[in-house]
Symmetry: C2
Subunit: 235 residues, 2 copies
């Protein structure tokens, strides 16, 4: 193979929108919205017809979703939305706790905190009346935790944290339908930020762990509830 037959492109192009990406996003949305249910079988042709595209970009999107554990491919027998696996979510939550407490540890060892922390405080450490809700609380919560990890400066940890947060998000959203969690979320985030700003590492980690475990337990209940409902539907 000849090397360097291509010249170096002058600039990094902004990866203009392509069909495969669009289909990827929309397909993921279908899965997130339970329009494609865990366990459902479908074919590339079906998806291609639905999006008025050819199989090529659909395949690219599906293989990407496969790598990200959302769907499974069966050789010459179609695709399947990966069924919920209870343990996977438990494991992902534990991994989140690990990454986020590590981030807190690192942040608390800094003499000067990144500007990002002050920005988070401006969002979360506010009286009730100043609370903005242009995002859903679910998205705001995800953003809070992601930015916390990002602020610690390890890009790889941040990238993985984003990925697993998104995977959890499928089921996590369902939690925030309950109003009483809104106040609690604000208070808990504010307390965590406060502890970080006072460099109380262990306390911050303790608060965060408790905060995430509440989520995990809620999700556990939701999962059980969904399984129950699914069973009833099929009886």
């Amino acid at each position: 193979m000849k090397h360097n037959t291509l010249q170096s492109p002058s600039r990094q192009k902004p990866r203009r929108e392509n069909l495969a990406d669009r289909i990827y996003e929309q397909l993921k949305a279908l899965i997130f919205n339970f329009q494609l249910l865990p366990g459902d079988y479908f074919s590339e042709t079906e998806i291609a017809e639905r999006f008025a595209a050819s199989r090529t970009p659909v395949r690219e999107a599906l293989h990407r979703l496969h790598r990200e554990q959302y769907v499974d491919v069966h050789f010459r027998s179609g695709w399947q939305v990966r069924p919920f696996d209870f343990k996977v979510f438990e494991d992902l939550y534990d991994l989140r706790i690990l990454l986020e407490t590590s981030a807190i540890e690192r942040l608390c060892n800094l003499t000067e905190l990144p500007a990002c922390i002050a920005e988070l405080s401006a969002i979360w450490c506010v009286p009730d009346v100043d609370r903005v809700t242009d995002m859903t609380l679910s998205d705001m919560d995800r953003s809070f935790h992601s930015r916390l990890v990002q602020a610690a400066g390890n890009e790889e940890m941040a990238r993985i944290h984003r990925d697993i947060s998104e995977r959890i998000h499928i089921i996590r959203r369902l939690d925030f339908t309950k109003d009483y969690r809104i106040d609690a979320t604000y208070q808990e985030h504010a307390a965590i930020l406060d502890a970080i700003q006072h460099r109380r590492s262990d306390h911050a980690k303790y608060l965060l762990r408790a905060h995430i475990i509440v989520s995990r337990d809620e999700v556990r209940k939701i999962t059980l509830h969904m399984l129950q409902e699914a069973r009833e539907r099929h009886m």
Copy 2:
């Protein structure tokens, strides 16, 4: 879209070998062996001709390598082996330390250790003469650390640990060319296993952290050395 137009395939098929997977592996090998150098540009057609295949499976392999951070795609301007980024490897090492110390912590809290730990001891806690070397030390080392994380029981952590270990492996292999590291590796692994078996969590974590940091520093030196050589070649 009609749901469930497909019936459930009776069995999980063993995903028979396909061309895209083969090309993916071979392409990764090319990158690992520095036959494709970081920074090199190439096109899908070149790769396809080299492997006597069409662009379709090549594209699938390349997109997979892209998601795994090995290559970059430039819109209508070819592909590029992602240049080495020093900080990425540093970050990956820190993530490894985090995952592995977490695994040790968990293992040390078990009343009964998984059988896997005894198996590892059988490999690493042996006198010099009993050392087997059917694998390269580099592969054995990777296997040791992966199995340690696997033993802790969190599948997601184990999966991510495997992925990052593989990414580090590109450069990590170069370290084990030095003979004096062989003895050290055996001793350090044995010491870590011993500490785990005696439930000395903090000590095991301390040993492991030191063990990985040595690797990281070696890699750092290698990277600097390679950069130096590359500079000299281009002068």
